[in-house]
Symmetry: C2
Subunit: 330 residues, 2 copies
């Protein structure tokens, strides 16, 4: 195995977020379940956007946020995702490159436009998302370059990729390429509803050795193992024998790996404003730690700190120099 060019390569949906404040009544009227991600089509996105309050636009996408965080910490990061050659596509490409992530995916010159995620942030700092996948649905195996995958110590996949049909094939190809090159694969389960949609397939994937590092929040891991009890989900995860980071919001996180079990407190910002990107940034810190030999506990503490930064403001990516923000604190 040659030295790696990248610490982490992320493959996911390339999305520009539109964040607006909303109240619970608005979510009810729109038939949206708080905290979840719903897939919508172009027409529904246009209509919902018309009813949303004035907001801000910011490059997002779950794995993309994670890679932006890794670059912010000083890690060598690359991202693969599909945009259209439109205004939003340019914004996405500009923003991810501006934070130092290598992004070489060519913009599509035809087909649906760049993906948009309409994010409604309620006063309790929860975010509820409606995503128009647009150009992302075209992401397929051809977008996965075996050489690029082999050049990254860890390839990080978001569970949302399992929704578009081609995404699955890209996902499987990336796993095969990574493992053939002796590299590791990380997976985020992304969303409890996404896990419900693809439970059996995700379970097959993690049980059959496809995933070396699993990220899941409490709702997602509970959905995967069909239990309402965290400890039951924890024991089932432990039986998989892989590295896992189970995040529990203000309850902190539980980390499994080999014989190790760590219980790590959350890093709580003075005021929690918006949870968009919190899980993504936790993954950023954890993956940076794993690829810099920090060990499981310090990696998790770093993840918690990165999540705290993004919880403290509107928007899914860090607004300060992340390396400075965490220095000496984990």
């Amino acid at each position: 195995m040659t030295a790696s060019r990248f610490d982490v390569l992320g493959i996911g949906n390339a999305i520009v977020d539109v964040l607006s404040p909303a109240d619970d009544a608005f979510l009810d009227r729109e038939g949206l379940v708080k905290g979840s991600m719903t897939l919508i089509d172009a027409a529904a996105a246009e209509a919902l956007y018309g009813r949303m309050a004035a907001g801000v636009e910011a490059s997002g996408g779950s794995a993309a946020n994670t890679l932006a965080g890794i670059a912010g910490l000083g890690g060598a990061a690359a991202f693969v995702g599909r945009v259209r050659d439109d205004a939003l596509g340019k914004v996405f490409a500009h923003d991810i490159r501006a934070v130092g992530v290598s992004f070489e995916s060519a913009a599509a010159s035809e087909g649906p436009g760049t993906a948009r995620c309409l994010v409604m942030v309620t006063p309790d700092a929860q975010r509820t998302m409606a995503t128009y996948l647009g150009a992302c649905v075209g992401l397929g195996p051809d977008d996965v370059d075996p050489g690029l995958v082999a050049s990254a110590e860890i390839t990080y996949l978001e569970g949302y990729l399992w929704d578009p049909e081609n995404g699955k094939a890209a996902f499987r190809k990336a796993i095969t390429c990574a493992h053939e090159a002796g590299r590791r694969v990380a997976l985020s389960l992304s969303d409890a509803f996404c896990v419900h949609r693809w439970r059996a397939e995700f379970l097959d994937l993690v049980s059959a050795g496809g995933v070396d590092i699993l990220f899941a929040n409490e709702g997602e891991i509970s959905a995967l193992f069909e239990t309402g009890d965290f400890d039951t989900a924890l024991q089932a995860t432990r039986a998989l024998g892989i590295t896992a980071a189970l995040t529990r919001s203000e309850k902190g996180s539980v980390i499994l790996g080999g014989d190790e079990v760590h219980v790590i407190d959350a890093a709580v910002p003075e005021k929690v404003i918006d949870s968009t990107g919190a899980g993504d940034l936790y993954a950023a810190g954890f993956l940076f730690g794993l690829t810099h030999d920090l060990g499981l506990a310090r990696s998790a503490r770093l993840g918690s700190l990165c999540a705290a930064e993004v919880l403290s403001h509107y928007g899914p990516r860090p607004q300060v120099n992340l390396a400075d923000f965490v220095v000496g604190r984990y």
Copy 2:
């Protein structure tokens, strides 16, 4: 090893509590640290009692509360503790027998009176204690009957016993008797300040195999291992290789035993009124579970439920039929 007559034998301070509401300013004026237990003499107890608000009296004592809980769950429970033949001593003996705990310790006919713990409950449901040990200071090795210890599956000791000089000797004798009879010893660290006072000795005790089952809250286990980080304390506890229940208030508990690690949620009552006895009742549920082959996770859930009952009202012991309260819930 013959069949056990008792599931659990508790050895501890036999105390009657006086519970009164208080505010933070009162604690400050009295020089008391919120959440802690301070030892005071008879004169100081008299003076403090005179300044406290009107309250209620209730039999208490940490291990005694635990044994009352075990009996309430239907377990076979015995308690050893020293009272004087005075009015409070009669109250203590009456109350612990009334809930079904075997209590055969003879009341002292001379010396200091029955112990009193002045418990100030602040509006945040925290309890701050000032204890006049009285007759308890006389508890010594002669009070430990080897036959009684041998007849109990687990002998449960409270860390507070380490404060009076004779208590230590009683403590060590109980451990020797239990282990010679092939029985297990459980220890509660009782209080972070108590751990500070006796840190090296407690650490020797648990490191040298004196304790099979350890109870500690987050402050106590952090004090034992001189760390401010829960996961660091957790890893140090795990290295001891014993069964341990680490309680974290609303963050739930973490259970270690053999290769098992469980993360159990707290059972939270609708309204938390008074934390007096919460740790004691957690230990009750856990020890009942261990002596009834419920396994670590179910035992911890039972402990959480028992703690929730006592959190929901003023006073250190259950006010409902505990077996009915928990049925079907763990």
